[in-house]
Symmetry: C2
């Protein structure tokens, strides 16, 4: 079966706001074995909305709609669906009573236009909304000889999600034919997309029943696999088989095979090996620290560190000799190593990370161009320093440098 | 005039990838005075694509399409547009020659299926693509009695943008009736969305010709204003007038009136006042540092700082007495103040920021619940400490805490 998703609301037709509900709904529908054929954002014009719903009915078995169920005149989803199906709206007294009760409980008078939220499409089942005033609607109908499911959900994400999981998924499982999708993702660090593709294509092209997508997402490479089969077990087995072969090919470049982030993997290894780490960052300005501490429980393995933006701070917090900076420059192999060694000593951690580089857009020279980064990892015995030249703007250079630093720790501990 | 945007490509119908080209195109079309009535993502099925183009032609004057111009069988935009218009495709020999030449210059043989990129819709003007192999197409036609513009652009963002700016904007300016849109945005820190709305609605509702949208974007409140008038000057004057009144009402809660970020504003004020700052962060784990250093040139006013994740690091890098931590706890008014004062002393900056709190999800108690944050600002004479209880998950608590810290500096320097 297939599905089309419509999001109603003019605010999502501005340059400032995206429809993100459809990403969540796509994931859940995929898990049921349903493919999305199209998705649209529609403004608040009733005629345009009616046309969009009619088109969706013509090409999809399931039409999932979000938004436009509020009390104002801009909220036209109920009317547009009724128009598209050629049926009437009626004001449901039970919903109306519940609305009055909800406002009464909060000791607020109900604004006159809220009564519109009780308007129900003839033939629809009303879906309770415990998190807001807009009830959803579920319509199971026959349109031009074909069975069609229309689902109206609120646009507020947490209301929409709760309603979908509680009321829609159980109903959809009754309707969607058995068959299920399994998905899995591998995350890869330290290899370019083209190399990942070149090395894995000979493997994944042999799995015609598994769809493989290679994406470069926030500067990491992801390999997504998905398979639809008669049941979940079968689908999962095929995905896992392919995943295993790809992991063998890419080796330690695969940092995650079950959805973990690089930060989570690094902290997991640190804890497992009984190691601790501290950071001394120049060009990344705290990004490595911030990424590590974004994981709950990171304090067990991460002590903290220093953002040594000036030369003086490098000396003050990581004991980098001023003479070393004078001799080799702040952006150098030597200073990166000294930062890692110094912060390790000062913090008492078993590992120390040092990062220095030129994030740009200014500050580059012929010898030391924008994007040049040195990342060091010290463990008290030896200090490994990696030099890279990253491309992209300031944020891309910083993010890539912080990823390199985290990945250095991961590879050391594997 | 109005416009509909269609993005072709099945990869944007997965949970992993969004169409972002439409945000750019919306901004540019808005600037020309054109409103977007709907936008859609369409998969690789030719029939669905043809239907979507027909629907768009029925409701919009301009149909902007991105993607599906590549050489593979999945690239169906050319065929679908021809189908929708009921016209033929022909293989343009001039484009074909250019394609062969492009490959020859790179000393690579042209794959057989690349000849499809020379397929041109009858009546279309071909748009050169200096950045890739897929040429665009521009069609100015009459459909069911109405003038319609159809534009086919490549899906790769930098190819699409270059082609739109070079070939489409000049043509559109000839066609779109005079009238232009002016926009402006105010960014607000430290006030909830409901209060911003309550205080500004009496003002903006008096400007019927200016569309006002209040958005909560990554935990900051934005007020977007836009006005379409006979010319840019007139539109801008109305937007500026409303902006001025709203700024008067909200006072120093408005941190930006010309698009600057909070980080940029803070660094601007620091430089203007000859002040410098350093940071000592516990729960934010380097996020304040990372945000400040995301701005190019931040090293002029930001010295660096410490991520003092353990108690020992608070003592080592910000001279917080161990006894103070024992007495009041690491998350306390006193320790926040000591962090700010200590890092200021140690770094030699004129201002010091200290942040401590409980980001969650673990670590909360009845006395010190998750979301409790203390932010301190020291200037050598007095130390201001603000206590807040933020809601949301770990990342939201951390982000709000870092925003509070930056805003404290801004308000001090205003």
């Amino acid at each position: 079966m297939n599905c089309e998703i419509l999001a109603f609301g003019s605010e999502m037709l501005t340059p400032y706001r995206q429809d993100t509900n459809s990403l969540y709904l796509t994931e859940r529908m995929n898990a049921l074995g349903v493919t999305i054929v199209a998705k649209s954002v529609i403004g608040d014009a009733r005629g345009v909305a009616t046309g969009a719903i009619r088109n969706a009915l013509a090409r999809a078995d399931i039409v999932l709609m979000t938004g436009g169920l509020g009390p104002t005149v801009d909220d036209i989803t109920r009317e547009a669906v009724a128009d598209a199906l050629g049926v009437e709206l009626y004001r449901d007294t039970e919903i109306l009573t519940a609305l009055y009760k909800r406002f009464a409980e909060r000791r607020r008078p109900m604004p006159e236009n809220n009564v519109r939220q009780a308007d129900t499409i003839k033939g629809a089942v009303s879906l309770a909304n415990p998190n807001g005033t807009a009830p959803g609607q579920w319509i199971d109908t026959v349109n031009e000889g074909h069975r069609k499911i229309l689902i109206l959900l609120p646009g507020v994400p947490h209301e929409m999600k709760a309603m979908f999981e509680e009321h829609c998924e159980p109903r959809l499982k009754q309707i969607v034919p058995p068959g299920a999708m399994a998905t899995r993702m591998l995350r890869i660090a330290g290899l370019p997309e083209s190399e990942v593709d070149a090395r894995t294509a000979p493997i994944y092209t042999k799995f015609a029943d598994v769809e493989t997508t290679i994406l470069a997402v926030t500067l990491e490479i992801q390999l997504h696999f998905r398979c639809i089969a008669a049941n979940v077990k079968q689908a999962q087995a095929r995905v896992d088989e392919l995943c295993g072969l790809v992991e063998d090919e890419l080796g330690e470049a695969v940092f995650s095979s079950h959805g973990e982030t690089l930060e989570q993997v690094v902290l997991f290894f640190l804890e497992m090996r009984g190691e601790t780490v501290a950071t001394a960052e120049s060009c990344t300005g705290g990004m490595v620290a911030q990424r590590l501490t974004s994981v709950s429980g990171s304090s067990r393995s991460y002590f903290g560190g220093a953002v040594t933006y000036t030369n003086e701070m490098k000396t003050e917090f990581a004991d980098v000799p001023a003479a070393l900076i004078d001799e080799f420059g702040a952006v150098s192999h030597e200073v990166a190593a000294a930062l890692a060694e110094g912060i390790r000593e000062r913090s008492g951690s078993t590992l120390g990370i040092g990062v220095t580089g030129i994030a740009g857009p200014g500050g580059g020279t012929v010898q030391k161009p924008v994007g040049l980064v040195f990342v060091a990892l010290a463990d008290g015995r030896e200090t490994e320093v990696v030099e890279r030249r990253f491309s992209g703007d300031r944020e891309r250079v910083r993010y890539q440098a912080s990823t390199l630093a985290l990945d250095l720790v991961r590879r050391r501990l594997m």
